[in-house]
């Protein structure tokens, strides 16, 4: 069970006070009507789901009721940082100087997305 530092309350609190809210930094398209069905579907449903460093949103539901972001490793479950809404992470998968699991590299010659 996680022990989470709430950046608004300024202290560690038990996971039971929080709800996870999925991947962080997903912005709603500014002009939804200009989106194709594919782009809109991507916004609604398609996620990074990395095995490793993940930026995700949580809410301190039984507490200050603030949403905030967390950088967490999805295998070790180690919380690398939490930061307020609107801020950017200081730790990312690239900044983590560790060997990347399963060296996820492919020959991508003209991959159509």
């Amino acid at each position: 069970m996680f022990y989470i530092y709430c950046p608004y309350c300024g202290e560690h609190r038990e996971e039971e006070e929080f709800h996870p809210k999925g991947q962080a930094h997903i912005e709603r398209p500014k002009e939804p009507e200009a989106c194709s069905d594919e782009e809109w579907g991507n916004y609604l449903f398609f996620r990074d789901n990395p095995r490793g460093v993940h930026h995700e949103m949580w809410v301190h539901a039984v507490g200050c009721r603030k949403f905030f972001n967390m950088t967490r490793h999805t295998v070790s479950y180690e919380i690398l940082e939490t930061y307020k809404m609107g801020e950017q992470p200081s730790i990312t998968a690239d900044s983590q100087n560790q060997p990347r699991e399963a060296a996820a590299v492919s020959d991508q010659e003209e991959v159509r997305a």
Binding site: F2, Y3, H19, E31, P32, C35, G41, Y43, Y77, G86
Partner: protein, 1019 residues
Amino acid sequence: MSQSKQHQQQAYRLNTGGRIDRSRTLSFTFNGKRYQGHPGDTLASALLANGVDIVNRSFKYSRPRGIVAAGAEEPNAIVQLGSTEAAQVPNVRATQQALFNGLTACSTNGWPNVQRDLMGLVGKLGGQFMPPGFYYKTFMAPASMWLTYEKYIRKAAGLGRSPMEADPDSYDHLNQHCDVLVVGAGAAGLAAALAVARGGARVIVADEQEEMGGSLLASRETLDGKPADQWVAQVLEELADCENVTLLPRTTANGYHDHNFVTLHERRTEHLGETAPVVNGYRQVRSRMHRVRAGQVILATGAHERPLVYAGNDVPGNLLAGAVSTYIRRYGVAPGRKLVLSTSNDYGYRAALDWKEAGCEVVAIVDAREAPAGDWVDAARAQGIKIITGSAVIEAKGSNRVSAARVAKIDIDAFKVSGPIQELACDTIASSGGYSPVIHLASHTGARPTWRDDIIGFVPGLVKGVQACGGANGTYALGDVLAEGVEAGIRASAAIGHAAQPVSLPSAERLQQGPAVALFQVPHEKPTLRGPKQFVDLQNDVTAAGIELATREGFESIEHIKRYTAMGFGTDQGKLGNINGMAIAARCLGRSIPEVGTTVFRPNYTPVTFGAIVGRHSRDLFDPERYTALHQWHVERGAEFEDVGQWKRPWYYPQKVNGKTETLHEAVARECLAVRKKVGILDASTLGKIDIQGPDAREFLARIYTNKWEKLAVGKCRYGLMCKDDGMVTDDGVTSCLAENHFLMTTTTGGAAAILEWLELWHQTEWPELDVYFTSVTDHWATMTITGPEARKLLAEISDIDLDRDSFKFMDWRSGTVAGVPARVYRISFTGELTFEINVQANYAMHVWQTLFKHGEKYGLTPYGTETMHVLRAEKGFIIVGQETDGSVTPEDLGMQWCVGYDKPYSWIGKRALTRSDTKRENRKQLVGLRPKDPKVVLEEGAQIVLDPKHAIPMPMVGHVTSSYYSPILDSGFALAVVKGGHKKMGETVYLPMADGQTHEAEIVSTIFYDPKGERQNV
């Protein structure tokens, strides 16, 4: 021998020694026979004292089994506890159950009894037909017979039995926080705890045994030249005096979860009786789960001795060497008379020394090493004990008790017997294959253990904030263990910012020890597959041959081998067997142990009663029941309640008519007609209410709702529909404009909390620039809905609000007083009748409600519940989110285009999704009314709708009934349904084939069945 000796009480009890209180006698019953023991005994030590050899029958082969160990690792002595049905506890480990007066236990297997077990015959005859995985290879023909085979297999399986009555005891949780948690209060743990405690940090020390001290309680070693338990007593005294220290004996750390969250199961009363006692008039909890969040964790969990795997090693009388010592030194019991010890290391020698000192005969020590040398070896020689080197016990003889040991020279590398075999008469064989650190807790965290050749064992992998010391870390020499404990304590203190204080350790004896040899399975003169059974996992009857066979069949990963043979899946989770099993697999595959895999242990370390995990969250406290301010009234009025989320809402109010209580149907018909013809009242307090303030409140509403809000004037209310951004309806309700910058939103009863979070989500993440605040006021207001033609007259009697139809219009709200209480009254309607929703501060609700009844009697004021509310709203075609919708329904599917602001400037939540190819489809399921052709028919809710009822199965379905009721005012059944392309199918006939073979016919009609022009609510 046990048969002949049962009349003789405690024949194996030693006259001196041990930590038992011989001055007091406790009596207990095992398998129907009465025995005696002493305070300080475990059930196991007491059984041994009384010469009870067979404590159980094995699971697969029904072989007689005796006590092997003295602690959590015991695989055999699994008993059923309890003298009454409600107090039954299955699968109690006798080695961990303190003896109490009146304890009643029996074996979990064996028919008709453990002494003479008929299944044992099957095991003997059929044993060879039951290799691992035999059930995968047979019982396949004929296919229909499997359920029959399975019935017999199930009967033979299982250990103890579940009680058949509810638990009389209660349990609870204690949420603990500490700087340092020390798990294990043996030498390492106590040393660590002392170091931490003196530094002033908050420390919890948990130990699973009845007494703290671990192996020091039964050690032959001294500290400062005094018995080690004196040091234990002195340390415990100091710790008990520290305000920053919590000592938890009888407390097992059973699970180690993320971020140093550890569950400690404290057995508070299980040593006292089979149900929890009453102290000072207050009943105690049976056991308690400490949910500990620790800054640092120190694992001082010690090590388990590994038995050697030889033929017949499961016959009663085969014990771990360390267990023999423990029984003699701690419990004053010699578990036999004549001992043969088989060992691969120096530690095992202690059992022989203790045995000899207890006045019993040591037939021989059989040491696998060619030239053992060390202080304990010398001591044994000095005692005149015969030592047979380069050899091992290759087979135990005997059926119900060991009668002899077959001993031979062995060649470990070549895995064969290399010399002549001699048979030594004895009744006890103790074995020691070295130690396995107790790495269980560490592996719960996902950290992989590491193999160390030097200690022939795995040491724990460690995550952040944890350290291991002493036996748990593969350190066994007492002096080193103590020093490591202090170091761990100092490191842990430093990590949480506490200065460590010096701890002067007592001096331990410096013992010379010879190196151990890696011996796991002992070779037999016959090949493993042909020889007598050599057990690896005693509880699951897994043999060395079984493991060999599994590897032959291609099961090469240890995880495969465990699963194919069931090794390690018992209630002991393979504490004794797993490493031996891995070693055997490694031998068969020609690999090293770490190449075969690691053992991954899962919580729990030892099993924990469901009750303790559940805690107080059971029975009346399983889940909160939420009540409105009027709950007392509803209860007194005899309401039946409906669960809506956590709320208890009145469902209907059955009355006694001519001495008979109304049915749901009768009550609802009466309530419905009262509303349609006179006036009814509903407690609507459960609706979610959110106070919205700020200059951008209106803009916010426009973005979050599908419909428009720009022109809603102060004093007005409007219905709103909410979607997720996938365009699917998620909530609805009425929002009122209280002031230009002030709105009150209502939500569905079940959706209240989620909608508040939903609003906050959009405000905090996407639209922080909007100046608006949301506050839940659900509980502040009580809401009483009076509805029906007489509603105005009734309200006028007790309100100072001008209720005139022209000044207080439909969809207006006004404030004033009702029954002398300040109230906001909303003229909105969910029934289609003239309706006033009276909102008062909840503390006044009962007064207002009762006043309404005082005045309402003459108008026929009738309380109605949710069922009537549903009928009335359905007659009007009003939806219930969650009933008409299921997360796949858009506003357009509901025919609610009138509630969609297509041209609002901001692309509100859900709008974009409505133009996706699938949401634009013409033949989407759309909400319609259904009128059964036979008005007496009330269609089943959930009935499926087809166009061709003669179509073969699978029959294409075009929709289903979402709501269906009998309408008392229309005197007919009617329904709401979703039907593919339904909006363009008005007047068409559809069919509803039912499970009973009937097919109903219905016509697609408008969703509004009553007062289609909406005149009644406007009067």
